[in-house]
């Protein structure tokens, strides 16, 4: 049994991602913040950590991008989890009782069409969906609901007042599994890295040229600010390939030479058909 960590409380989508990713027996440990998960892996308290990195509707989870650049951990896997939000109330509560709803602001955003029907509800932003469920179960007030997962409703003994209330039924979160070493396997086909370029015309283009000329498929590019150098950026790039492929090795060698910052963030098997 291995120890693996996630941010949040039991019943969160992150914990669900862990159970789905690891086929074998795992002991899951909840951490307070994303950074605590990174520290947990670094210290060896957990073997792997899981972190949400992107949602298909709301985009990048920037804190996680920043932490991947800051800590010396590696992405070793990924997992996609469909986000299904539900309106949860305490026992014996009914939809008509509700006056206040607690949840993460992104859950409000993702359930906007449903919530727009109830203009008198007060929406109160809270840490995350699972903590909101836990909190309203403690308040035990029929007028107060939370938006959260089905798993959270079971854990905190809450009523499912409305199911699958998210506007976008395709809404999916991509999670990455991080460990303390780079892993390598024959079936790995995705590489993640972060770079920054000289601040001049064509510098980013010059970098991307490496990929295009070698027919390497660029899957994703995300930019994040360099905090102490306003209006310069780190570019997080995911591309298709195997680290032992000579073409990939050559492209990476060029990047290391051309970029002002280059960091390999991981090598792993993409879950989706590339």
């Amino acid at each position: 049994m291995i120890k693996v960590g996630f941010q949040g409380v039991s019943g969160s989508f992150s914990e669900e991602a862990l159970f789905n990713y690891f086929a074998n027996d795992i002991e899951t440990i909840a951490f307070h913040t994303f950074e605590d998960v990174f520290i947990g892996v670094e210290k060896g308290d957990i073997l792997y950590g899981i972190l949400p990195i992107e949602n298909s509707s709301t985009g990048a989870i920037s804190d996680v991008y920043d932490l991947l650049n800051q800590y010396n951990l590696y992405i070793v896997g990924e997992k996609y989890i469909k986000v299904r939000h539900n309106l949860l109330g305490v026992k014996n509560s009914q939809l008509s009782d509700i006056k206040e709803v607690y949840s993460h602001p992104q859950a409000f955003e993702q359930s906007k069409d449903y919530l727009n029907q109830f203009t008198n509800w007060k929406l109160i932003p809270y840490y995350n969906t699972a903590k909101s469920a836990e909190y309203i179960s403690q308040l035990n007030n029929k007028e107060i609901a939370a938006i959260g997962s089905r798993k959270a409703s079971e854990l905190y003994h809450l009523n499912l007042l409305a199911e699958n209330i998210n506007s976008n039924k395709k809404n999916t979160t991509r999670f990455v599994v991080v460990g303390s070493s780079l892993e390598i396997n024959q079936d790995f086909n995705k590489i993640s890295m972060v770079i920054s370029t000289h601040h001049k015309a064509g510098a980013l283009f010059h970098v991307l040229k490496n990929f295009a000329e070698n027919k390497l498929n660029l899957l994703k590019i995300e930019s994040r600010p360099i905090k102490h150098t306003p209006w310069e950026y780190y570019f997080y790039i995911d591309f298709e390939g195997h680290l032992e492929d000579p073409i990939v090795k050559d492209a990476i060698a060029h990047l290391e030479k051309d970029c002002t910052h280059f960091k390999l963030l991981g090598h792993y098997k993409g879950e989706l058909q590339l």
Copy 2:
């Protein structure tokens, strides 16, 4: 006197940006959400609206990017405002009284080094910095503080318990001014647009090639998800140039042909030295 709008309440950085941008007399109107500002301009209730689009430490304000793509307004100007956070308490309160602090989560993040000294403070996320200042002035409890601007402390008659507590002294927010028509002027030198490309190897590279070959300086690229097509993206691109320059016209003509989505978001004068 023209009517101009911003999101938030008086004392916000957005309102400060409006006063700084417009040299002449303006009447400022506060809106509840970013989207309300867009609607206000569209309906003609205000001539221009101002919106924060990016912070030099925390990055893109994604909702504003999404709204720029969704509404048919144009960026006609930009303004940079230094973010200076302060700890505000009610009259007669002292630093040693404080137990709870209200503010926007980004303000907590931006003041992390300062806040880390007070591990017993409970940080409560709230709508924005100015609303937090307004709220704690209503609570009028010596133990409850807010993080906000100096302007907010004056408006809501609060004590400055600690000044300039943001970790990054260079922390700046970029605002864009939007209007209902594209504007054009001899001294304009920035163009913003949003595109999406075919989902295949080299497509984004192919687009950027246009810029590089014509020596057009790419200033910024930001990716946002296409909500109903998971893992495909809109790319928001800012570049240096004038819309009437034949090279720019040609590059744009190529983009319109090559991209699956192309929208000109605005033409304006960049405030910073490019």
